[in-house]
């Protein structure tokens, strides 16, 4: 009976907390609206730890308020000398033992979750079923992200596309300075180090939650990496497995198909000034050191330009005209000479035509 009461109380505390917290933030970005197994696990830990901590805070606050009100100096008592108490072993033992118990309650699920989240065995199996266990190589670069699907030989940038309702595995590394890969609504972050020993972890994207978030999750760089660290955003498109399969097939065979004469002109300029850095086919066999700029193979399908600007021709022109004004310190500024307005128009036409969908 008593236990039941305690459970019920805890349960109601949890649900009130969950209600309050769920009001916080946007479904595509907030850790408080978890949209996958990892974020769920972390959210439950947050709730558990918050509940325990609120308990502690309540106890301290009650004693605190009582003491401060009850024992404040009153008029006429200025010279009263209170009893000089040395201590109290019983009390001291109580407030040593209870916190230890609370911490054990917290430590056990913490350790378990820590090991669960680090379980990347499936991605390292010798004969992994490539149809079922997707691996993505994430490479972080000064202010842009590259996503490589090694099983398919496909590379894309800025927009990560993943299948929902299954564990997706990631190899993480950085090519210049340290960054950190974070999709808040879907799960905690992991650093992309510059050492060769790649970091590995997994995430799971929930179909229903993805729909609630509008199909797109926001990704962030979470490690200070230079002036435009704040602008090193990426987007995650989470789609059902079938749709993902179709997409990756299209990516495998995608090539620029240019018909419009203006776009053709753009293509010519691009092949002169930009192709040294940017590839325009998702299949790019160059080694990663040579891939110094975002792959533009499906640029026309992107969510944003340079990760942050709304995706339209006007913003694209703005980027090409003066990337520095959009992302201070980026690695494209000043590398392709001066472009006339006509050239920029032509380039924009061309780039917008690079689509697979």
């Amino acid at each position: 009976m008593k236990k039941w009461l305690l459970n019920w109380r805890l349960f109601s505390l949890f649900s009130v907390m969950a209600l309050v917290l769920a009001g916080c933030g946007e479904p595509f970005l907030s850790t408080l609206q978890p949209a996958g197994e990892v974020a769920d696990m972390q959210y439950s830990l947050m709730l558990l730890s918050t509940a325990i901590m609120i308990l502690v805070i309540i106890v301290v606050t009650i004693i605190f308020v009582y003491v401060v009100v009850r024992f404040r100096q009153r008029k006429g008592e200025e010279n009263k000398i209170p009893k000089q108490v040395e201590g109290n072993h019983k009390l001291e033992i109580i407030w040593t033992v209870i916190p230890i118990i609370l911490l054990i309650i917290l430590a056990v699920p913490t350790v378990k979750a820590t090991f669960d989240l680090a379980d990347v065995k499936p991605m390292n199996k010798e004969n992994r079923d490539k149809e079922k266990t997707l691996v993505v190589n994430v490479r972080a670069n000064l202010y842009w992200w590259e996503f490589e699907y090694p099983d398919y030989g496909v590379i894309t940038s800025q927009d990560l596309v993943v299948p929902t309702d299954e564990r997706v595995y990631f190899n993480l590394k950085a090519s210049d300075v340290k960054h950190s890969f974070w999709i808040p609504a879907v799960g905690g972050k992991m650093d992309t180090n510059i050492e060769d020993s790649k970091n590995q972890f997994w995430l799971e994207f929930d179909q229903k939650d993805a729909e609630k978030a509008g199909g797109i999750f926001y990704g962030k760089c979470a490690e200070l990496c230079g002036p435009s660290h704040a602008l090193m955003d990426f987007k995650v498109k989470a789609v059902p497995r079938d749709e993902f399969n179709q997409w990756i097939e299209k990516m495998k065979n995608a090539k620029p198909v240019v018909t419009d004469p203006v776009a053709k002109e753009g293509e010519a300029i691009f092949n002169k000034s930009c192709i040294g850095c940017h590839a325009v086919t998702p299949v790019d066999k160059r080694p990663e050191q040579a891939r110094t700029a975002p792959n533009l193979g499906n640029f026309g399908d992107r969510e944003r330009i340079a990760g942050i600007l709304e995706h339209n021709e006007e913003n694209l022109k703005k980027w090409l005209k003066d990337p520095e004004s959009v992302k201070p310190g980026n690695k494209m500024t000043g590398t392709y000479g001066q472009l006339t307005d006509e050239q920029i128009d032509a380039l924009a036409k061309y780039l917008m035509s690079l689509k697979v969908e």
């Binding site: 970005l29 805070i57 024992f71 000398i81 108490v85 001291e92 911490l103 340290k178 310190g329």
Partner: protein, 619 residues
């Protein structure tokens, strides 16, 4: 040397002083100025982030400001301000006439000062460091210009000062205690200073090593952090945090000490559970070295390391909890007087509990993958450092101001400062927990609209201005007090329990005319309760031996300051190497002089002391 000869000029006096009380004032002034600079930097940060897409400062400049804010506040404000209070109080609290090594004490200050000055010269010489106060290796090696070099060399010099200061306090507390001042009779502020100094002794060398590696890489062609040549950047992270985590306790333990004194004084009760308080301090200090990697949960150390460091970190909550409850039960049954210092102590308890519980939340490694490097962490450590350390510094400054300067700060203005600062603090940082949980990474120079972060950031920025207003009121208070303040008694608050309240305010240069005999915990209180006015002396009145002032600490530090410029520019200008060597020669020359010149100090004669004591008693 006679008294007259020593009274040359105020400035010369302070440039050469080896008196711990004057060094305290130097630390207070220098630390206070750096605190104001760090505060202005904080305001810039909050103005920039008040609204999305703001362009109050540029992206690059923002990173410089955020780096300098963190570095300044930790190394150049919080540490020296604590050293100010330690220097002002600890020797007197243990019944000593000075610290063990007065010369080193001065040297420690000047090294810190020149290190800080060097670091801040960067603003005018091509830009400040911009890789965060943690200066992670890959980014800091990539950073152009000399900003990071200013960081490396500046911190190296000031860190040397801190290390010297720490060793000095260790030896002082071990060797210089008055008769009867056993370890278990030491006031808590002395205890925490002792443990913090031990932490300095062990925590600063790893930083020194890290800084040397980085200096080699940046200035002398080393490859410690270049993976292409076999280096490893994660090493920097370990070295930095092996220093950086204990650093938190180096700051917060003395803060605990300050509040222990204040809470006990103004509830007119001895500290509840004194021995468990001491035990908790030592345990926190010890555990503080076992947990550094909780700053690195997302680095990819693997689940075993993460789990171990998670559990170890949680363990620190236990001794910290013990302290909180001991403070509460010190208040329990007391006769609580709400003076300004006490208001801070009262405000500190809930604020610090908040910082503590979010600390435990961060310790749950798996969930920390979400918190790490988000605004949640920013909120957490500001609750610990502002809610703990800065409140303690403000409290301690008000509390010991009469002992340092002989005048009482205005209580009215003090309370205004408290309320402005306290409200501003919570307004600024509470909401940041939620910003972090809502996906906002830290160290961002701006944010785009439409991510649900607008309101939170605006509220946070408004709070910052309340804190600024509180600080301004404090400055006004100081100015008014300096010119018009009420003269303070020896026992300035009337409820003093420890030895510093037995000597006149400010203390005479020899502290105690006769070394006191300590007859229990809260030595002065013991005497008062027996109806005595003064302390029981442990020796007859006699001549007192004092160390001579010296200009050498200043020169030694100046040499390193000059030398740092030289070596920093040795690749850019041909004069660089020369200047670097000349600087070192100045330093080593001064050290040589120190070694060969016999300096026996001087005596203050019995008659002079009797005269001074009579005057002190009258005032």
């Amino acid at each position: 040397m006679s008294t007259v000869a020593r009274k040359k000029s105020l400035i010369w006096d302070y440039l050469t002083t080896v008196d711990h009380k004057k060094i305290a004032i130097l630390y207070l002034i220098a630390g206070g100025l750096f605190f104001l600079m760090g505060g202005v930097e904080a305001l810039f940060i909050r103005i920039q982030l008040a609204v999305p897409n703001n362009d109050f400062v540029s992206a690059g400049l923002y990173n410089e400001i955020l780096t300098m804010h963190g570095t300044t506040m930790i190394f150049l404000a919080a540490m020296p301000l604590l050293f100010a209070l330690m220097n002002a109080v600890v020797p007197i609290q243990i019944g000593a006439r000075d610290v063990a090594f007065p010369f080193l004490n001065a040297l420690g200050f000047w090294l810190f000062f020149f290190g800080g000055l060097f670091l801040n010269c960067s603003w005018f010489l091509g830009g400040a460091p911009d890789a965060g106060w943690t200066s992670y290796a890959s980014l800091s090696l990539e950073s152009p210009g000399h900003g990071i070099d200013f960081y490396v060399l500046g911190l190296q010099i000031s860190g040397l000062g801190t290390l010297i200061g720490g060793i000095n306090f260790l030896v002082t507390i071990v060797n210089m205690r008055a008769p009867g001042m056993t370890y278990m009779r030491m006031p808590l502020f002395t205890w925490t200073t002792f443990v913090a100094s031990a932490l300095i002794l062990f925590a600063f060398p790893p930083l020194t090593v890290g800084l040397i590696f980085m200096m080699m890489d940046r200035l002398f062609g080393g490859n410690f952090f270049d993976p292409a040549l076999g280096g490893n950047t994660i090493i920097w992270e370990h070295l930095f945090w092996i220093f950086g985590h204990p650093e938190v306790y180096i700051l917060v333990l003395p803060a605990f000490g300050i509040f222990s004194e204040i809470i006990s004084t103004f509830s007119k009760k001895r500290l509840f559970g004194y021995s468990s308080m001491v035990f908790a301090v030592v345990l926190i200090g010890f555990l503080g070295f076992m947990v550094w990697a909780h700053h690195m949960f997302t680095v990819g150390m693997g689940p075993i390391a993460n789990a171990i460091f998670a559990v170890a970190t949680m363990a620190i909550a236990v001794p910290t909890g013990i302290k909180i409850f001991n403070w509460l039960f010190t208040l329990w049954g007391g006769n609580i007087r709400f003076t300004t210092p006490m208001l801070y102590a009262i405000g500190f308890i809930p604020s610090f509990v908040m910082g503590g519980v979010t600390g435990v939340m961060n310790a749950t490694a798996a969930a920390d993958y979400q918190y790490h490097d988000s605004y949640f962490v920013v909120a957490h450590f500001h609750y610990v450092i502002v809610g703990g350390v800065v409140l303690a510094l403000l409290a301690g400054t008000h509390y010991w101001w009469p002992k340092m300067f002989g005048k009482m700060l205005s209580e009215k203005l003090g309370k205004v400062t408290f309320w402005l600062f306290f409200i501003g603090f919570h307004l600024t940082f509470f909401i940041q927990h939620f910003l972090g949980l809502m996906g906002m990474p830290r160290r961002v120079f701006t944010f785009l609209p439409g991510q649900g972060w607008e309101t939170g950031n605006l509220i946070s920025s408004i709070g910052a201005f309340f804190m600024a207003a509180g600080t301004i009121v404090l400055l006004v208070n100081i100015v008014i007090t300096t010119f018009k303040g009420k003269k303070a008694e020896a026992d300035a608050w009337g409820d003093g329990r420890t030895l510093e309240w037995a000597v006149s305010s400010p203390a005479p240069e020899y502290n105690f005319a006769q070394t006191p005999l300590v007859r229990g915990l809260d030595a002065l209180w013991v005497e008062k309760m027996e109806g005595k006015k003064g302390l029981t002396p442990a020796e007859p009145l006699g001549d007192i031996h004092m160390p001579n002032p010296s200009f050498l600490p200043f020169v030694i530090s100046l040499g390193l300051f000059i030398s740092a410029f030289g070596f920093m520019y040795h690749k850019d200008y041909s004069w660089g190497l020369m200047v670097g060597i000349v600087g070192l020669l100045i330093t080593f020359g001064a050290m040589f002089l120190r070694s060969v010149i016999d300096d026996h100090g001087y005596h203050i004669h019995k008659e002079e002391i009797m005269e001074a004591e009579k005057k002190g008693a009258k005032a």
